[in-house]
Symmetry: C2
Subunit: 316 residues, 2 copies
């Protein structure tokens, strides 16, 4: 029992289930006390039928009581076997099953009404003894969850936490393998690896860093999971290239952080303009570049076959 206090509110789901189980068990006792020949689980269906003499369809009942239509179908079948309801297809629409209380059903309604009000009063009285209002609390939380599901609330925290596990660092000699592997991984998924690629991927220091460029690596929980390079084209003009984030950590916003870090780096080293070349089939990538502030321009022809779009970012 102290489990709940230890785990805290995270176990609220289990606690609710447990509590509902208690009420269900109690309900069974109460029904037998009143001698009403009604399975407690039939109650919601019975209830809505009792105040709608004209009858309802399976789906309508399901909506009213918040069960699935299948559940209602099963309950109605059982109640029908027990002689409490009569069913018939409607004349207007042969699909719908019109369900009504039978004479026997109507006969037990008054006893059930008594039971209802007794149970309702007993629960009200009990709830009134408590300081916190369970009934309203449930309604409120239900509403809050509808506004913003728990999943979303948790996700926000998750993103923050994941960012804490992510670091952007400068290229280290031991990153040579990873730098190549990360890029080959994605290029091969969409295109063929070209000669120009291999030249840079195999000799990052000679081809990129020595000529005045930079390479950043992203780590997630200590493991290298992404990279991005800033290649010097001319004074004040740099190319953002070789951006790659492994599939395994997609959706954590690591690409965005990498991009921001590269642009920051470009600022530091006095770049006036950063450009990049990509392909329109890489929609998520293009969206990311746009988010980083890049604008599409008609640029010079690329040395890469796979590129069909040119984007630039002015650093003021």
């Amino acid at each position: 029992m102290d489990f709940f206090e230890q785990v805290g509110t995270m176990a609220i789901g289990s606690r609710l289930r447990r509590m509902s189980g208690i009420f269900t068990d109690e309900a069974r006792l109460v029904f037998s006390l009143y001698g009403v020949d009604l399975d407690p689980k039939w109650f919601p269906v019975f209830y809505v039928l009792a105040r709608r003499p004209e009858g309802l369809s399976t789906t309508e009942i399901a909506q009213e009581i918040g069960h699935s239509h299948a559940s209602v179908s099963q309950i109605v079948k059982a109640m029908s076997a027990g002689g409490l309801v009569s069913t018939s297809r409607t004349a207007e629409d042969a699909r719908v099953n019109l369900i009504r209380l039978s004479d026997r059903g109507r006969a037990i309604a008054p006893r059930l009404t008594e039971q209802c009000s007794d149970v309702g009063e007993a629960i009200d009285e009990m709830l009134a003894e408590a300081h916190s209002d369970l009934w309203h609390a449930l309604a409120e939380v239900e509403h809050l969850l509808q506004e913003k599901p728990l999943y979303q609330r948790v996700k926000e925290r998750y993103r923050r936490r994941e960012l804490q596990h992510t670091e952007i660092i400068d290229y280290r000699p031991e990153d040579r393998e990873a730098f190549k592997a990360l890029n080959v991984e994605w290029i091969e998924r969409y295109f063929d690896v070209e000669q120009t690629d291999l030249q840079q991927l195999d000799h990052p220091v000679e081809e990129i860093i020595k000529p005045g460029g930079h390479i950043l690596m992203a780590t997630y929980r200590g493991e290298v999971v992404g990279t991005c390079a800033l290649i010097k084209e001319s004074e004040g003009r740099y190319e953002l290239a070789k951006m790659a984030v492994t599939d395994r950590v997609q959706g954590k916003g690591i690409g965005l952080r990498l991009g921001e870090a590269v642009i920051e780096k470009a600022r530091e080293i006095g770049a006036a303009k950063v450009f990049l070349e990509s392909n329109t089939v890489l929609e998520p990538a293009i969206a990311l570049y746009r988010k980083l502030g890049f604008k599409r321009v008609c640029g010079p022809p690329s040395p890469y076959e796979r590129c069909n779009i040119h984007m630039e970012l002015e650093l003021t």
Copy 2:
């Protein structure tokens, strides 16, 4: 959805179940978000194991988390298949299955801890947005239910209501049949009907009422369900006899009301003493008489074979 508002608090069980379902569904999403390879329903078991490296038995876990041992057994089986726990019988007691996290289990514990605290915070934040405190309300109601189950609370109301449906009336000519039938019903269950019985049961007016006695009938929802007679023995001395309540309405306190009414009647007609004869095997009856104030005395021998106890009540 408006079902709940209509039925009111009586549907609190369903509402709790529904809410717990919502949380369960959300939990599934959250677990997949964190990429923890753990079935949400394993969580409670995992949790207690994580903070008890020495291991726990099936029953111990069940008690901690408030599930049945069978449930734990099933969960452990699944977790074992997933390689998260190791199981072994203990040396001291070969019946108990000692369950421990495996290395793989321990490996995912930290991620689960993060997830826990994120979810916990998210829920706390959400609950804080509400005016009523769901968590405390649940704890309070759980406590209240433990103190006095809902069943008991409802039962009190039920008794009151049933008494409203019960009436004690004076004997009417049309009660002759019922008067006999009610008494024969119970006498035959325990003893044989004697000649003295039949004389009085067949001619209640001549044998009981005309000589200065009274007969009361109890009705439940308009139907005669019990009776009790006050037979004049001598001036100021009356016998309580022929008390019978049909089995169908036992436990509604009708016998008690009948007894009280008869004693009241005795007072009205100026009785100084009421006595009765019964048999010690009829324990509930004796208890009822005692509750009415009767005391056991050594009385004169009874004309009835079945009687072995004599009780009296002084009316002052």
